[in-house]
């Protein structure tokens, strides 16, 4: 187990370093003189030269990279165009996106897992076809379109829920009101994927020999199903989350933009639109690092659940 962990962690580190280089190079490749972007209405050449000096843009590239990484490791991601600390802004806005992510996964698990189990158990019957059909539709509906339609139906037409925005956890009821539509929009797609995976893995294990043995031993149908459902669901959720992480992040970004939620996702889009180099660098680095770390965790959890994987 230890060797496996070290190998995986080592690989993750290599990937992280390479990713940071890609981020650095990518941001530098953005055209449009950054000083002009930072200049808004004032393009006085003296001001532009001063901006260049302030953001280190006149030093050689390896020096810039080294300086940036050194500071980043100590938690200092620089200041953005508004003279506010990037790290501080990320720390303020990341929890909001994490809340959306967790609630969406909750919606997906609560809807998808039971649906997958039922579909597997009642395979071939009308309820299976219905569930599979609904899941297929859920996969095909663009989450941002669903978000727009939810706004139209529940906020604009019925006035039951707010059309966007965000309140902090200090007001938990209002917070949930604002979170409901966004998390449904993201959660339905995830639920569909979970449902299909769950169904197929349940079908695999429900037909296995040892299940027949368990049945022969006289254990009730229900307890067999439940036991397998529980173990399979853990594996399924872990695998799917690992594979769908990219889709989840993309979903959060789009939904935050549509619902006007001041989270990490909308921060990313704003940063690029405003050509805020320091902010872009910091944000993308955090996303890449987060992704690598979560994947590492998923690998570890998966290997705990499925010992055969550790050989790879």
């Amino acid at each position: 187990m230890g060797g496996f962990l070290i190998r995986k962690a080592g690989a993750a580190l290599v990937v992280l370093v390479l990713a940071s280089i890609v981020v650095f190079a990518g941001v530098r490749a953005i055209p449009g003189n950054p000083a002009i972007a930072l200049g808004a209405e004032n393009r006085d050449p003296a001001v532009i030269a001063a901006v260049k000096a302030k953001y280190d843009l006149d030093k050689p590239l390896p020096v810039q990279y080294g300086h940036w990484i050194w500071l980043a490791l100590r938690g200092d991601l620089g200041v953005d165009q508004r003279d506010l600390a990037v790290g501080h802004t990320i720390a303020q806005r990341l929890p909001i996106s994490l809340e959306i992510a967790l609630l969406s996964m909750l919606v997906a698990v609560v809807v998808g897992i039971p649906a997958g189990v039922i579909a597997a158990v009642r395979r071939g019957k009308p309820s299976d076809y219905a569930a599979t059909g609904v899941a297929l539709s859920g996969l095909s509906v663009p989450h941002f379109w669903l978000g727009l339609m939810l706004i139209v139906w529940f906020a604009v037409d019925l006035h039951w829920l707010p059309a966007g925005g965000y309140t902090t956890m200090h007001h938990p009821l209002a917070n949930l009101e604002h979170m409901l539509l966004p998390t449904i929009a993201i959660g339905t797609g995830l639920a569909a994927v979970l449902m299909r995976q769950m169904r197929s893995s349940m079908l695999d294990s429900l037909g296995a020999d040892y299940v027949r043995t368990a049945r022969a031993k006289g254990l009730s149908e229900w307890s067999v199903i439940c036991k397998h459902a529980f173990r399979n669901s853990l594996i399924t959720v872990t695998t799917v989350m690992g594979l769908q992480l990219g889709a989840l992040i993309s979903g959060i970004v789009t939904i935050e933009v549509i619902f006007g939620i001041p989270g990490f996702g909308s921060l990313t889009i704003d940063a690029v639109n405003q050509r805020d180099y320091t902010l872009i660098q910091g944000v993308v680095l955090v996303v890449a690092a987060g992704y690598v770390i979560v994947n590492l965790l998923v690998d570890v959890v998966y290997s705990l659940l499925n010992p055969r994987i550790r050989a790879i």
Binding site: A11, V14, V15, L16, L18, A19, V22, G26, V27, A29, I30, P31, L136, S137, L139, S140, V141, P142, F144, W145, L148, M149, I151, V152, V156, L245, G246, A247, I249, S250, V253, T254, V257, I258, T268, I269, V272, R275, I280, V284, V287, A288, Y291, V292, N295
Partner: protein, 295 residues
Amino acid sequence: MSVVASEAEVAAVGLRRRRLRLLRKRFLRRPMAVAGLVVALGFVVVAIFAPLLAPYSAGHTDFNAILAHSSSKHLLGTDDLGHDVLSRLIWGTRASMQVGVFSTLLAMVVAVPIGMLAGFYRGWVDLVIARLTDVLLAFPFLILAVGLAAILGPSLLNATLALGIGAIPGFIRIARGETLALREEDYVPAAVLNGANDATIIFRHILPNMTNTLIVQTTLTIPGAILGEAILSFLGLGVQPPQSSWGTMLQGAEPYLTQAQRLSVYPGVAIILAVLAFNVFGDGLRDVLDPRTTR
């Protein structure tokens, strides 16, 4: 020697024809998959013949009919700039299909050789390719697209590039997995004995045997690419107005959610149908080609 070979070849051709007939029978037993194929082909046809099918040209505006409801002149009404919605849907089909199909093909053309190299040679080649793939995976496709849009400017081409790059890891993984399995097959050492070099083995022996899996993977990647194009254009990172795509139509419809909901519904339905069709067709195809399924 040549006579023996030609008999074997004849036998092979006969086998292939029988197999195709069997596949077709299995396919036709799945009405959902057939429906999916028909609808998907329908979209492709609309995309190719857009100039003949659309009642108005892509840029045609009628400033006297802004946000109009459906009429005889405009079957689905007009949008906020006076464009005919039906025409925009048809032209949009072309743009969305272009991005969806070409990005997937791009990914396949780039990723499959790389994946095959990783699976065939293993060792440090595999290790390096695996790490590079991980780096690619560390950037969710949206972040990638946002970055590309910032560097190269937003456009249909760059949306295609971004989605293609995003689909590469998936194809590498499939190609690698298939190659790892297929290189153990009997015909490989036989080919080596016959004097075949690496390239011949890879491209003449291994590649043809993974076409089934590749076809299925392609069919199932396209819907993701169509959805991806919609997201990118909606956020202003892909197809740019005044060019029409389903995503830009949704972008234009967003400020009018209260006044003209229908403008959001039409492109949304188009996306859902196209994605559903490719998904259902791909699922059916996978079942048909999977030797384990019995029907």
